[in-house]
């Protein structure tokens, strides 16, 4: 039986790196640096499995970066390392130049499973992070309501998560994370559990929010189309051991319109190229 791990590795930063992003100071400043990071997991007995092998990566402030790859390539693990939930076996991950020792409100996760608190209503979930940061109840409530309005859930404040559809749950989860204003959004296949229609709407809404706030986004996904549509940069990974195969800059104008892009030859070419890359990787290991 798994014992609940409260020590998601080292202590939480008592003094989190400031959540505000230093906009305008140096637009190309590195937000996240990943330096020779490897991750080895013990499997049964003395066997171990190299989930990530010597990853090096720099992500600039305000960039929207997707990580793409076959299942088991360690893309979620990489995200968890940046989140501070998992400590790398080797190497160091840094956020704003400081080594990551644990989770902190400067990096907000959004999970595929939503991970909403079932005992709190929608507003309570969104207010949680603010209250935790010491914001007064009245102010937290006002800001929570505003955020819910932004993600299109005005009127659902007193609903419980179980009463919402999958898409609405993920909207709440996004609002809950945006509430404490993290500099980095860590999105772990956030739309993977949603139907195609809801997925498209949430992608568009996410792009809207990102256009306004320009947070750094690290976005793990299975879908090549989703990665190309959303990102400035797509990191293509391969597995056994998990490593970076190629980094593709997506040079498409913003703001992006799905309807235009679908007909855009450049968009189509990115998708075809990246799918080929992943496919080649797959053949090596079949």
């Amino acid at each position: 039986m798994q014992v609940v791990s409260l020590r998601s590795d080292a202590h939480t930063d008592a003094e989190p790196v400031s959540g505000r992003k230093s906009s305008g100071v140096d637009s190309a400043a590195a937000m996240i640096e990943i330096d020779h990071v490897s991750q080895r997991f013990q499997t049964s007995g003395k066997q171990s499995h190299l989930a990530l092998s010597d990853i090096n990566l720099t992500i600039e402030d305000g960039a929207f970066v997707s990580i793409l790859g076959p299942s088991g390539c360690g893309k979620s693990t990489l995200l968890y390392i940046v989140g501070g939930f998992v400590q790398p076996t080797d190497g160091v991950a840094k956020v704003k130049g400081k080594a990551i020792t644990g989770p902190g409100p400067d990096r907000g996760p959004v999970f595929q499973e939503f991970a909403l608190f079932p005992w709190k209503n929608v507003l309570g979930n969104v207010m949680y992070g603010l209250r935790q940061q010491g914001v007064k109840r009245a102010e937290a409530e006002a800001r929570g309501r505003k955020l819910l309005e932004m993600v299109g859930l005005k009127g659902y404040e007193n609903f419980y998560p179980k009463e919402l559809s999958g898409g609405m749950k993920q909207r709440v989860a996004i609002a809950r994370t945006l509430a404490y204003d993290p500099a980095v959004l860590l999105m772990d296949e956030p739309f993977g559990a949603l139907d195609a229609h809801t997925r498209t709407r949430l992608q568009n809404d996410l792009l809207d929010i990102w256009d306004r706030q320009r947070k750094t986004v690290l976005f793990v996904t299975h879908s090549v189309e989703e990665a190309v549509y959303l990102s400035d940069k797509v990191i293509v990974m391969s597995r056994s051991p998990g490593s970076i195969k190629q980094i593709v800059d997506i040079d498409l104008p913003r703001p992006r319109k799905r309807a235009d892009l679908l007909l855009d030859a450049r968009f189509q070419k990115y998708i075809v190229d990246i799918e080929k890359m992943i496919d080649d990787g797959g053949k090596d290991h079949l």
Partner: protein, 254 residues
């Protein structure tokens, strides 16, 4: 109420009505002498009358005090140890073997020892109730707390919750459905055990009332405390059910 709902209620009442009808007919047709099986009318009549009897109320109060004290201690101790065992590997290593040894022991067998150590008064009975109700509560707390989704904890940590607060802000509420299931099991056991302890040795309480009636062959009085403990069990169970649906209003139905 919908038609199906009414139907199922009617169906549910049927066996109870049949049971009482069978009981009555056994007497009416002379299969059982009233000295062995009193008619249901006499039993329920006596029960109603007894509610104005100070001794009976005193017996109920004595039983309830022991039941609540024992159950309350079991909830506090069980939830505490269960949570601790789920979050601390060191505590887990100590608690697990102890529970494996102590849980399957029929606790009622300890009662003579408790009588010798704690005396014949409340303390020994309360301890027995606690010992019996403790393990279901402890175990379901442990299970609930071990099954808490890791990503709930991560979400709370990312939002800036210090590690020591995670236990009360995430693990405890997330384990609540499981804890309350354990409490329901523990409550039924408490009802049973307090009654048995009172039957074995006591000077008051519902169990004592039954034994007293059995010694003097007052069959009507033997049925009254049995019906009373069943009613108490039902009432307490529905109180817990109500508490459960309030506390778990946000959780999906199982």
């Amino acid at each position: 109420m919908t038609q199906t709902r009414i139907n199922s209620v009617l169906l549910g009442i049927t066996p109870i009505v049949l049971f009482i009808a069978l009981w009555q007919s056994l007497i009416s047709f002379g299969f059982a002498p009233t000295s062995l099986l009193p008619p249901p009318g006499a039993v329920f009549g006596k029960l109603a009358k007894d509610f104005f009897n100070g001794d009976f109320l005193h017996d109920i109060a004595a039983t309830l005090i022991r039941l609540f004290a024992g159950f309350g201690i079991a909830v506090v101790v069980g939830v505490f140890i269960g949570l601790a065992a789920a979050v601390s590997p060191a505590i887990n290593a100590v608690v697990k073997p102890l529970v494996r040894v102590l849980a399957p022991i029929p606790k009622i067998a300890l009662y003579p020892a408790l009588l010798l150590i704690l005396g014949f008064d409340h303390a020994s009975k309360i301890t027995l109730v606690t010992a019996d109700a403790l393990f279901p509560i402890l175990l379901s707390t442990y299970y609930g707390a071990s099954m808490v989704e890791q990503k709930l904890i991560w979400s709370a940590m990312a939002a800036g919750t210090p590690r020591w607060q995670i236990l009360f802000k995430v693990v405890l509420p997330a384990a609540m459905p499981s804890i309350l299931t354990g409490c329901r099991i523990g409550l039924v056991i408490s009802c049973i055990v307090v009654f048995l302890a009172e039957m074995i040795t006591s000077t008051d309480g519902l169990g004592h009332m039954l034994v007293q009636a059995a010694r003097t062959f007052q069959t009507v009085d033997m049925f009254v405390p049995l019906i009373m403990i069943s009613m108490l069990g039902l009432i307490l169970n529905s109180l817990l059910h109500w508490l459960r649906s309030y506390l778990l209003r946000g959780f999906p139905e199982v």
